[in-house]
């Protein structure tokens, strides 16, 4: 059946229609209210549609989305694993949904227990000494983590000026460091794709507040020298921040706390299976070693005689990073995930994720260039080097994959691989889907030689053909307006 192209709701709106009705006002209305306050007659051009129109609108639009429930989504570094439905169900429990964040402690003991237990489980999983669940996403976790380091250094007398970040890092790392008031200096990767210890040593000084390192890094390579790296940074009084976005490769196998790192953030919407929702909400808990605990954001949760309390009186705290206690329902889902898997299930995540990734790597290494030969864990980064002679780039390969029913890999980083195709299969895929992806990639590699045009004009079967992103940025149209709509004179 044809998927109908869906109009904007504003284009189908018609005067007087509505999709929801409130009960009648049950108090005598006062006519004298807001006398000297500027009011509006109506919200100009706001949509007016019936309930069924809203339902069809969103249902049709849903058909224009790819998602993990539909198929393979090997978007590198994003850990697109299956989101267990039971986690959604428990998060919809009435008692969780209806509790007001300003409720007094004794009426929300269940919520506080959930937060505290999750903190404790994350401590055991990572080997860190304390956690805050407040950050709303990975990037906010990075910012909070860097603020903890800064607060501690300030107390020692000098916040320092520089943060070192490997050239393979995700873009949020330098951005978070900057937002925390630091200058960023890049550390080179060596020919193995890992941190160059010489370059690190050369750049490490008493001006350096921290090193932000992702492990395994964005190439999927474990930083085998992590303890030496930590030692170099610590020797000059700096801190090691570990970006835990790739924790899916390590869970149950190895703990960041044992790697002598001082701060780590996790992405509950990656490793811990909470759904991405088309771009959030996520959660970015931050774990620290003892020394940094006093600086954690307020409030923290304390258990005392079987009762949970919120503590606000924390003089060294960096303060508050967002309202209330973070994305609570996301934490509920992550806790359900951890409890449902147990120790064996958690270890199996890393084992199968790494197996799937290495199977793909082995199966495609003849067709696609791999810049680094080092062993990889949960993801691998191919490039378009073999296809470029035919005028084909990573974006063409990616868009052609859509025709084969697979979501494209990540292309925007790591910056040290030109034409990157970062593939992360996760542990939940079937061999059948993985093999279909491998076959599609091989077919595309043949097409690159024989019929490059079919790649360059891909996708051919999606809801829309290839979209012109340059024009969007040049001729900005960021909201509908009556004037710009030719249908609504």
């Amino acid at each position: 059946m044809t998927i109908l192209r869906e109009s904007l709701i504003f284009e189908v709106s018609d005067q007087g229609k509505r999709g929801f009705f409130l009960p009648k006002l049950d108090v005598p209305p006062r006519k004298d209210l807001l006398k000297n306050i500027p009011l509006r007659e109506e919200i100009q051009d706001f949509p007016e549609v019936s309930e069924v129109e809203v339902v069809r609108h969103f249902t049709r639009l849903s058909q224009a989305n790819f998602c993990i429930d539909l198929g393979f989504y090997p978007l590198g570094s994003c850990t697109m694993k299956y989101n267990p439905k039971i986690n959604e169900k428990v998060a919809l429990t009435k008692e969780f949904l209806s509790s007001h964040p300003y409720s007094s402690e004794e009426l929300v003991q269940g919520n506080l227990e959930i937060l505290k237990i999750t903190e404790e489980l994350l401590m055991r999983i990572t080997g860190m000494d304390a956690f805050t669940l407040q950050p709303s996403a990975g990037a906010q976790g990075e910012l909070v983590g860097m603020m903890l380091i800064r607060a501690c250094l300030e107390e020692r007398g000098n916040p320092r000026k520089i943060v070192l970040i490997p050239d393979s890092a995700h873009g949020t790392n330098p951005s978070s460091a900057h937002l925390c008031g630091y200058h960023v200096r890049e550390i080179k990767s060596n020919d193995k794709g890992t941190v160059d210890l010489n370059d690190l040593e050369k750049n490490m000084s008493e001006d350096v507040a921290a090193l932000m390192v992702t492990n395994p890094n964005t190439l999927g390579i474990f930083e085998s020298d992590i303890k030496e790296i930590s030692a170099i940074v610590h020797s000059k009084g700096g801190f090691v921040y570990m970006d835990g976005a790739n924790m899916n490769a390590l869970i149950g196998k190895s703990r960041p706390g044992d790697m002598d790192v001082d701060v780590i953030h996790l992405n509950l919407h990656k490793t811990f299976s909470t759904p991405h929702g088309g771009g959030g909400p996520g959660a970015g808990p931050v774990g620290v070693k003892k020394e940094l605990e006093p600086y954690l954001p307020i409030p923290i949760i304390q258990k005392k005689e079987n009762h949970y309390h919120l503590l606000f009186d924390r003089p060294k705290s960096i303060g508050r990073a967002r309202s209330f206690y973070g994305n609570f329902l996301v934490v509920v889902k992550a806790l359900a995930y951890i409890l449902s898997l147990g120790p064996e299930g958690l270890r199996e995540i890393a084992e199968i994720a790494v197996l799937n990734s290495n199977y793909i790597r082995k199966s495609l290494e003849n067709e696609y260039h791999l810049k680094y030969e080092s062993p990889t864990l949960h993801e691998c980064v191919f490039s378009d080097k073999h296809q470029r002679p035919y005028g084909v780039q990573n974006i063409d390969i990616a868009k052609r994959l859509i025709d084969y029913g697979v979501h494209p890999p990540t292309m925007s980083f790591p910056l040290i691989v030109q034409g990157a195709l970062m593939v992360e299969p996760t542990e939940t895929e079937t061999k059948r889907d993985i093999d279909r992806f491998i076959d599609a990639m091989k077919q595309i590699s043949r097409e690159a030689k024989e019929d490059p045009e079919i790649l360059k004009s891909a996708p051919h079967t999606a809801y829309v053909r290839r979209l012109d992103e340059t024009t969007a940025a040049r001729r900005l149209d960021l909201h509908w307006s009556r004037e710009s709509d030719p249908e609504k004179e």
Partner: protein, 448 residues
Amino acid sequence: MSYTSLSQKDKKEMLTKIGISSIQKLFDSIPENLILKEGLNVPDHLAEPELVRHFDALARKNSFHKFLSFLGAGAYLHTIPSIVDYLSSRGEFISPYTPYQPEVSQGTLQIIYEFQTLICQLTGMDSANASLYDGASGAAEAVLMAHRIKSKPKVLVARTIHPQYREVIETYSKNLDVSLQDISYSKNGEIDLEDLEKKLGYETSAVVVQSPNFFGVIEKLKEVSDLAHRNQALSIAVITEPTSLGVLESPGQLGMDIVTGEGQSFGLPLSFGGPYLGFMACKKEFIRQVPGRIVGVTKDTEGERGFVLTLSTREQHIRRERATSNICTNQAWCALRATVFLEALGKKGMQELAWQNLQKAHYAMDRLTQLEGVHLKFDGAIFNEFVLQFEKSWKEIDKFLKDKGIIGGFGLERVFPELKNCALFCVTEVHRREDMDRLVSVLEEAVQ
């Protein structure tokens, strides 16, 4: 328990293809001394029925839902049309990633474009982003944005903004050469315009004001923004209760430069504080300084309309340390719920929603303030929240109400020590007349 999908045969075939004998081999790049020898010290797995029982037991330790509550203060109980839950729970909306590949994400992208349009219409602005974490971090991002635009050190913050927002602004700005200065409030609960005028100067980047403010009082945005502009500063409006925009003139029409706030009122349950929905809108000229994702219109190779993430040169994945913000994952699914909510209510529904909040809050306020020993603290115009001052101790009254199954207002003394025995009450369209009458009669007993 396991959510993996490989059979033993699959695993064997895959290991053979890789050319190794065991999965453990794949972890050889991790030094031996970093490999865990034992399983993690976490509880044994729970199957689905056990998990449900486990969470039911946790849920039973909550009792807030049994009370009749008049708490607001930045988190509001509103009606949620059933189609919001129904539509937003579709896998096509819950389980995609950020729409980096527009050709397979047109659903999410078009919805964000509609969300941006709705936010522009509500706020009276020319442009809006795809969402931020929450209202508090939105306010902090707005302060940093104004600071980037004006490059002047001082930002003036009304004492009447949500105290947690004030704290988050402080956390975000303290490492960045931004100095915050408070503007006091006047007797009627509004920002003190004289104090503002006095403190505004050539060093000021922006003025931050919330309306309705933390006391529920509607601020004079026009006067605030005029004063700011006269001093070459930007005006930032924070909205924690955006249902008010169904009746109040839009901040854009009143001259505000940036409008940011909390969209929880639009279809998101209270959920113990999150996930919520930060939004941000601004005048067109500032769009390149906006943080976060923005969706724009373009065409495909056949000339058909399509939607893409745009202006990404502002963002961390391109600009790295020079990005306008570090935000990456935001609250897209919450924005989708808000979009369903707003489109279902529509023009008439939003107007009526706001009207009912206004009327019901006034009904409750009028009756409560007739009681002996209960006074209206501020006489500025309010929307759906108001501050009462009691002659008796608020602590005792609060306890009395609780014993009778009512959560009264938010005790203000803990954040505003000068507001002795004052509490902020919130009434929305979900409160029936009998609920308010019950509050009145129990409170009457309480204050005696």
